[in-house]
Every structure is written in structure tokens, then in C-alpha cells.
């Protein structure tokens, strides 16, 4: 009896959850489907079964030079993340292992810098970039993205490092390990998972950043966010092409995202929810 109720309950929950999940996922699914249609098919009303042509994909590359934007996205997201890690790891490390009276205040202050609206500094940054020749340069934008995500990187690393037991360090020190040995043999192995998680989340955030990447680039340094935005100006019917470009732009990060659900929760809640 009890078992029958459970199975029934499970069936209803399964059905409801799948329906809701498919509805939420639908815009993405339909984009992928449309990317395999011809432009003609794409505007002929609702149809879930494309002819399977890949002409839109080759066109996105041939006409719009998709690959250059893709490379910029990779360079900017990975570059800014590595840069942020280099700056943040020592900071998070010292805050986790030798916290002072003001450590918590500094952390909260760092978080508060994240709340400054980007538009408030749009023009000064624009001027600084223009006058130093950084406009539309990959390096300038990379530094920009690094600064934007630095607070989250410090916070996330801090919550990971804090969980490494300090006694282990003391034990290593007692055994006569030098600072260098301590870092290489004791701390690094324990810190690597946290650093990897931080890196993953930060790459996702940098990849999808859509204010500075659009405003500070024109052609040379433009990543996929700017590339896709250029489709907003009307240029005839281009549903299939837009879908192909969109699919290409989100696929890598979507797949990375699926593997980073846990890190995402932790990173974006500053360790408050695990």
C-alpha cells in the first residue's frame, strides 16, 4: 500500500518536473533545432523537425568570421581568470590562514565594490581606455574583466581555503618543513580543487559578461557577446543564422556549466549556501 502511494507520487512528480524543465529549456532547444533549418524553413511556423542542413553554420563562419570572436572570448575569459587568480590566491590565502581583526571588513568591502553600477564609471573608463589606446584591445578588456570578477574570486577562494585545517600546517612545520615545502607538498594538493572550481565559475562569468565587452570593443577585441549583439540590427530574416551563431556561442559554456552546478552555488552565494 505505502509502496503504491510512493510510486504514484513519484510518477506525478516526474511528469510535473519534466514538463516544467522542458518548458524552461525550450528556448534553448528551439534555438538548436532552428540552427539546423534553412532560412526558409525557419519562418514557416512552428516546426520541431529541421531538415538538418548545416548551411547556417558555414555561413556564420564565412560571412561573419565567427571563429575570431570565439577566440577572443576564450582569450578574454581564460586570461582574465588566470590574472584574477594570480592576484587573489595570495590574498585569500592570507585571509584564511592568518585572519586579522579587519579581515571580515575587508571581505565585505570587496563584495561592496561589486555593487558599484558599471554605468557610473562608463565614461571615465571609456576616456581612460581611449587616451591610453586600450579601446578595442584584448589586454585592456582582460584587465577590466579581471577587476570586475576579482571580489568573487577572492571570496570563493577564501571559503575554500578556510576549510583547509590549520593543524596540518602546524604539523608540517613541526616536522621541519620549510615554507616552500609546506606550500608545494601540503597546501597545494588541498587547495587545487577549490582553485579549479573558482576558475571554472569565473570563466563562465567572464564569458557571459555583456556590458564592458560590448562597449569597449569594436572589431579587433570583440568577443561573442559583442558578435551576437550585432545581430540585433535588422538585416532581413536571419533566424537560422542567428540560431547557429547563438548555439555556437553558448554551447561551450553550457556544457561547462552543467559540470559546475555545485561550484556555482557556492561561488555565487559567497559560501553561504553549500
Amino acid at each position: 500500500m505505502a509502496r503504491a502511494v510512493t510510486t504514484q507520487h513519484k510518477t506525478i512528480a516526474t511528469a510535473a518536473a519534466w514538463i516544467v524543465a522542458l518548458l524552461i529549456f525550450f528556448p534553448i532547444l528551439y534555438t538548436i533545432i532552428t540552427s539546423f533549418k534553412s532560412e526558409q524553413e525557419a519562418i514557416q511556423g512552428f516546426n520541431l523537425f529541421p531538415s538538418g542542413t548545416t548551411e547556417s553554420y558555414s555561413e556564420v563562419q564565412a560571412q561573419n568570421g565567427y571563429f575570431k570572436f570565439f577566440l577572443n572570448s576564450v582569450f578574454l575569459s581564460v586570461g582574465s581568470t588566470v590574472l584574477a587568480l594570480l592576484v587573489a590566491i595570495p590574498a585569500a590565502w592570507s585571509m584564511a590562514f592568518s585572519p586579522g581583526k579587519r579581515t571580515k571588513d575587508i571581505l565585505m568591502w570587496m563584495l561592496s565594490t561589486k555593487m558599484m553600477p558599471a554605468v557610473a564609471v562608463l565614461f571615465p573608463i571609456y576616456l581612460i581606455f581611449r587616451d591610453t589606446g586600450l579601446l578595442d584591445s584584448r589586454i585592456g578588456l582582460m584587465v577590466m574583466l579581471m577587476l570586475i570578477n576579482l571580489p568573487i574570486v577572492v571570496w570563493m577562494l577564501y571559503t575554500y581555503f578556510r576549510e583547509i585545517p590549520g593543524e596540518i600546517l602546524e604539523a608540517a612545520r613541526m616536522d621541519g618543513a620549510s615554507l616552500w615545502n609546506e606550500i608545494i607538498y601540503v597546501l597545494t594538493p588541498m587547495a587545487v580543487p577549490g582553485i579549479a572550481s573558482t576558475m571554472l565559475l569565473n570563466i563562465i562569468l567572464a564569458w557571459n559578461e555583456a556590458f564592458w565587452t560590448i562597449r569597449l570593443t569594436t572589431t579587433e577585441a570583440a568577443p561573442l557577446t559583442a558578435f551576437i549583439s550585432s545581430f540585433s540590427s535588422p538585416q532581413g530574416l536571419f533566424w537560422a543564422k542567428l540560431s547557429a551563431a547563438s548555439t555556437l556561442a553558448i554551447a561551450p559554456i553550457l556544457i561547462m556549466g552543467w559540470f559546475s552546478q555545485k561550484q556555482l552555488v557556492r561561488g555565487l552565494t559567497f559560501g553561504a549556501v553549500k
Binding site: I24, Y30, A42, A91, S94, M95, I250, V273
Partner: protein, 290 residues
């Protein structure tokens, strides 16, 4: 002695992050503040100079200003309501035993990873387009009149798109919180005869309160500065119907080159963000102490 050494080492290790963020926060903001009291037009440098608060007055007397503040708050509040309530319901649903839970989670979380311009363009062209969109197909199927979303309800359309992007985030965080709820507590409440609703109100909701606070804080930060979604769909229009404060400042600065007014708008955006942040940070700070 050793502690003294470690402490200065700690300071030294912290310095790059702190200095970078300090510079990043102060230098551009100082520029903006300075510009907000200046008449400055890169196209017409003859009339530059100090003008006191007149930029603020101009920005304030611009009818678009009040509208943009109202739109900003409407977007923040509506999206928060949709995502928090929807997120709680979805988290409760996904927490039930079911087949294929892993895949369901992946499907639900996916929109969060879609970059804003893609999300906005896909919704604009393929879902909400008055002629070729899926909504129009559905309306015609039922014999109705397709809605011109971006012409008639531009703000609502943007709210729907942004809510679609953030609902997965709220769901994922709340689901994680829900799953950390002690099973024994739930069972005990059940044995004591607590029904689903009272279990939810007295056990589940308090347990999730911290996660809900965090969701509200994080989303508010991002929702106050919605930009790409407006840029690629309505471009702020029709009129100023879907212009929020960030978008108005962008228009003033980079399209009209009214730098003084744009800077005044930027400072107002900072003040607005600070008011919101003050409450949010206090709530989070309190919660993090637990």
C-alpha cells in the same frame, strides 16, 4: 615575533587585491563625480566649465529620469518576485523523488549559462516575434491575435526574459538549501502530524531563509544593471518605456555626448545602488555570522 612576521606577510599578500580594487573603485568614480559638476561635451569644447548642480537639475527635470528609475525598480522587484516564488516552488518540486532528476536539473539550470545578448535575441526573434515567434504561432493556433510584445508591453517582455535567465539561479540555490534540510527533522514533523503546508511554513521556509536572502542580494546586484537585454531588444523604447537608469546613462554618455548629465545620472545610480546594498549587505552580514 613570529606573529608579527606572519602579519606583515599577510598584509603583503593581500596588498595587490586591495590596492587594485581600491584604485578601481576610487579613480573612475572620482572622475564621474568631477564630470557631474562640469559642462563637458567632446564635440563642443568651447563651453566647458564648472556648472554646479545644474547637471543634476537637468537630469532630474528630464521626464525620462523618473521613468527610468521607476523602470529600474519595476524590473528589480518583478524579477525578484517571479524568481524567488517560482524558485521556491520549483525547488520543492525538484526535491521530490523522481526519475531522471539529474537531467531535469541540467535542463532547468541551463538558461543561466546563456549569455544575455543570446537570451534576449532568441526571445525577441524566435519566441516573442509578432509574426514568426512561437507565441504568435500558439496565439494563431487558438484563433487569437498575436501580441506585439516589444511594441505594446516592452517592459513586461524584458522582465520575462530576465526572469527566465535568473529563475534557474534561484532554483539551484534554493534546491541546494532544501537538500541540506535534515531528513529526520522532516520525518519527526510528519510523525507529529504536521501537514505539508505547516511543515513548509514552520520548517522548510525558516531553513531556506538564509538562501533566500542570498538569492535576493546577488540578484539585486545584477538586476540593477540590466543592460544587454534592453540594448538588443527594445533599445529603451518605444519612447522611454523600457529605459532603465543604466540604459539612460549610456544613452546620455555615448549617444548624446552629454557627459555632465550622464555623470550626474551615474552618481544617482551609485546612490540608488548604495541604498539597496545597505539593506542587502546588512541582511547578508547578519546571516553570514550564524
Amino acid at each position: 615575533m613570529a606573529t608579527q612576521q606572519t602579519r606583515s606577510l599577510a598584509r603583503f599578500m593581500m596588498a595587490p587585491s586591495v590596492v587594485l580594487l581600491l584604485v578601481w573603485m576610487i579613480v573612475p568614480l572620482a572622475f564621474t563625480l568631477w564630470f557631474s559638476f562640469q559642462q563637458y561635451n567632446p564635440l563642443n569644447p568651447m563651453r566647458d566649465g564648472f556648472v554646479g548642480f545644474s547637471n543634476y537639475a537637468l537630469f532630474y527635470s528630464n521626464p525620462a529620469f523618473l521613468q527610468s528609475i521607476l523602470n529600474t525598480l519595476t524590473i528589480v522587484v518583478s524579477v525578484l518576485l517571479i524568481t524567488v516564488i517560482g524558485g521556491i516552488l520549483l525547488a520543492l518540486l525538484l526535491d521530490q523523488p523522481m526519475w531522471g532528476q539529474g537531467i531535469v536539473r541540467i535542463l532547468v539550470i541551463s538558461p543561466f549559462f546563456v549569455m544575455p545578448p543570446v537570451a534576449a535575441l532568441v526571445w525577441k526573434n524566435m519566441i516573442m516575434h509578432p509574426q514568426y515567434g512561437v507565441f504568435a504561432d500558439i496565439a494563431r493556433f487558438f484563433g487569437g491575435q498575436p501580441i506585439d510584445w516589444f511594441g505594446q508591453h516592452p517592459l513586461l517582455a524584458i522582465i520575462i526574459i530576465v526572469a527566465w535567465q535568473w529563475l534557474p539561479f534561484a532554483t539551484l540555490i534554493l534546491l541546494t538549501a532544501l537538500q541540506s534540510l535534515d531528513g529526520e527533522q522532516k520525518e519527526a514533523a510528519e510523525m507529529d502530524g504536521a501537514g505539508f503546508i505547516s511543515r513548509f511554513i514552520y520548517l522548510t521556509l525558516p531553513h531556506m531563509s538564509r538562501a533566500i536572502t542570498v538569492v535576493i542580494l546577488i540578484q539585486t546586484i545584477f538586476l540593477l544593471s540590466v543592460y544587454a537585454e534592453i540594448l538588443v531588444t527594445t533599445n529603451g523604447g518605444p519612447g522611454y518605456a523600457s529605459t532603465n537608469l543604466p540604459f539612460l546613462v549610456y544613452q546620455k554618455a555615448l549617444l548624446e555626448f552629454k557627459i555632465g548629465q550622464a555623470s550626474a545620472g551615474g552618481i544617482i545610480a551609485v546612490i540608488l545602488a548604495n541604498i539597496v546594498a545597505f539593506f542587502a549587505m546588512r541582511a547578508v552580514g547578519k546571516n553570514l555570522d550564524k
